[in-house]
Subunit: 526 residues, 2 copies
Amino acid sequence: MSKKSVEVLDTTLRDGSQGANISFTLNDKIKIALLLDELGVEYIEGGWPGSNPKDEEFFKEIKKYKLSKARIAAFGSTKRKDVSVKEDISLNSIIKADVDVAVIFGKSWSLHATEVLKVTKQDNLDIVYDSINYLRSHGLKVIFDAEHFYQGFKEDPEYALEVVKTAESAGADVIALADTNGGTPPFEVYETTKKVREVLHVKLGIHAHNDIGCAVANSLMAVKAGARHVQGTINGIGERTGNADLIQIIPTLVLKMGFNVLKGRDSLRKLREVSRIVYEILGLPPNPYQPYVGDNAFAHKAGVHVDAVMKVPRAYEHVDPSLVGNDRKFVISELSGTANLVSYLQGIGIVVDKKDERLKKALNKIKELEAKGYSFDVGPASAILITLKELNMYTNYVNLEYWKVINENNGLSIGIVKVNSQLEVAEGVGPVNAIDRALRMALQRVYPEIGEVKLIDYRVILPSEVKNTESVVRVTIEFTDNKMNWRTEGVSKSVVEASVMALVDGLDYYLQLKKTLKTSADNYIA
Amino acid sequence: MSKKSVEVLDTTLRDGSQGANISFTLNDKIKIALLLDELGVEYIEGGWPGSNPKDEEFFKEIKKYKLSKARIAAFGSTKRKDVSVKEDISLNSIIKADVDVAVIFGKSWSLHATEVLKVTKQDNLDIVYDSINYLRSHGLKVIFDAEHFYQGFKEDPEYALEVVKTAESAGADVIALADTNGGTPPFEVYETTKKVREVLHVKLGIHAHNDIGCAVANSLMAVKAGARHVQGTINGIGERTGNADLIQIIPTLVLKMGFNVLKGRDSLRKLREVSRIVYEILGLPPNPYQPYVGDNAFAHKAGVHVDAVMKVPRAYEHVDPSLVGNDRKFVISELSGTANLVSYLQGIGIVVDKKDERLKKALNKIKELEAKGYSFDVGPASAILITLKELNMYTNYVNLEYWKVINENNGLSIGIVKVNSQLEVAEGVGPVNAIDRALRMALQRVYPEIGEVKLIDYRVILPSEVKNTESVVRVTIEFTDNKMNWRTEGVSKSVVEASVMALVDGLDYYLQLKKTLKTSADNYIA
């Protein structure tokens, strides 16, 4: 396969930071930049120096680090209509940022030139030419983002082409066609990009947004049509519905289209980790459904037999999950067999034959509970506890003798527990919080390792047919000790009781792993 | 524009239910089916009758309802290799389900025939032919899902074509090409679908999965290449990374590709509501970044001037948000909203001008609460109560002075309330049930009409990004008096307090309507 290359411009720190509820500290930005450099992107768009002081700080600070491959790019607009380039604040801020690469956006949709910018079409061409020329004359490499290009081309193709030809003649090194409002369907992106490819000689790029759910596909279609530069963000963060997700685009370019991207195939193995670190920095839970890297991306549920997948994986999986740093996962549920349990147990270092009678007993218990409202694919650690008991590998670390919660109409709750003969009381912002705190206070005295355990997800579902205040409630809790995550569940007509069950299972499971099995394996079970 | 049509098969209830953490009750399934019928889909794939009893129940139960347009389809596989069609359990379960339409999947990738099914390529053709023919002979319309078609076509195009030609000759009414493992890039979907279009005469369909983030685009590309039948799920729920999201596909087909879909353009306005209700049924928070319908989909950040957007909206928005039932949102100023309230108030017989200052005040209060975790589109009756207060149309019927709940570790709870000077105590199966009972006992003495009110839905959502036992909880409750339904909500860090708030609002709202407004209008607000 001929190794054509596609270069990557990451704009997580610039366009990504425009997303709702997205905010980076200077430290966050440095951390992400180093991560992107390690991953092997060509350009890191660090910010818009003319627009805010934090971005200017970033350009200063990042200079203290030696990057292996990535070049830092500063973003800005073409010059304002009523000043000369030398007096333009935006262009001069880019120069002052003292970077190698400038990314500037300009109008390519005639409607925007005449109705928004309020200049003639010729004036806009001059603005584009002068701005690029000025930055080039200061020794900068220039990437020109043709704003609203696809919309512009649709309405006034001649003018849109004239704009990018002007950018080329002014010396732009890359011309990125932007689908700024994200509304162009993939076939149109392909046709338009192809036409531009026919008339320009410079390297073409694509900058896609996800407003019709096609940002990833549009990026691929543009490359198919000849673009060799892709702009996007980690996890697709960005304004409105987000930017194109590089985490999803890159593996397809490499594994399905034969392009050389980043530092080669090995870089793909880092994608899951990079994706997770960015979620963590943002305080967002990872998206389990994210293509390639999500926890469910290679999960097999009912209907498909584990044996069949193991035997002919390519019959069921579009790529080998390990290529993108992910794992195959078998989900435990009422429809699954002992093979699923076996693969879970392997994850915590227990090897059992799948025909073992004790496993069948455990599975029967699990099925009985599922008929009552449990769903062990959402809280598998609780299923493992049942299995450990059947296997005689369970130690009774947590013996909850009594509990009680009193909720007052100021929203506060008092939780009382008696666990392992220790009586404890705690106040909380709700009944579950109160019991959670009382439980930990009592247990931590005997098991200091409990101090490592944090609760990171708490969900309440009413799985019954009719839902009212007498219905069965299923509580699912996810725990972490920052090395591994695990999920448990509890079912009861009382939301408090169901929560207590899931809480106790979570701490119990951790103690089984740490004290009896002495495992620290990453058995993340979503 | 010539009105070519694309028909929609919704498989939320079948393929969607294979998703991790997805589980529907029979009631949920009926509710969703009715919603889909109202939306205007052609086919509702209700389940796999051979695989589990719950699906069989659904086919029985849905017969009790008169659907306006949608036809219920039962799913299954082609016959097993070692039995005749007459003895095949799967095919006969479909017939027994007594529906008009069968959807059956069969192998079209030769690897699957020989390595998974372990039959000759000819045997597989016979299986496909016989299965379709058998169902047709029982008067069923047959949709044939060609499993792994795109993979199969890539490796063994002749055979893949032979399979679908066989299906056509057996009388299949629709042949849906399935990208079962979701790994085919959009340009390949286009090319392959086009080739199939050239050799078949029957209606072609597309069934896409999102494993490389292209399910929406692949569905559009297949239609571009000649498919006129699209399969997908609401919100893209489904196994692994999910199915193609109909909520995203349909507006592009209508607004950008000129197709006639559902019941015409007006159906698009219901998309946001349908999306939200399905999230709510699943106990999942809506995705704010979802194309077209998400809260952020038409959000304009501070940098864009409100006036500019208002003046030339098409310069900034790829479609008018109201076309898909969504709103433009300005981060800096509140503009829209009062119109929504006005239309709700009309539903209960109150006519107010949308420029009324009191409405703006109410809206500000609502927005403050939404910032704290409320979401009034899921519990609008609580928003109406706030508005009635601002309009001076509120009477204080329910004055809750004090409440307390004690939960014991036998699962039972004691609820104590003092409401309208009446002290009452009740026992319940959980804290919410106990308070619910105590409240009604106290109120019913003064307001016997409360006796008509039943609770028919109760849901708990943690709307914050980080979820733990200290998180804010949103409780939504649906009430009915068998003539009208209404939904309220409560938000607190305590699930008990949030429930009490929603309970009180529900009874309060009913009394406002019955005693003050004397309305019996059917203001069902889902």
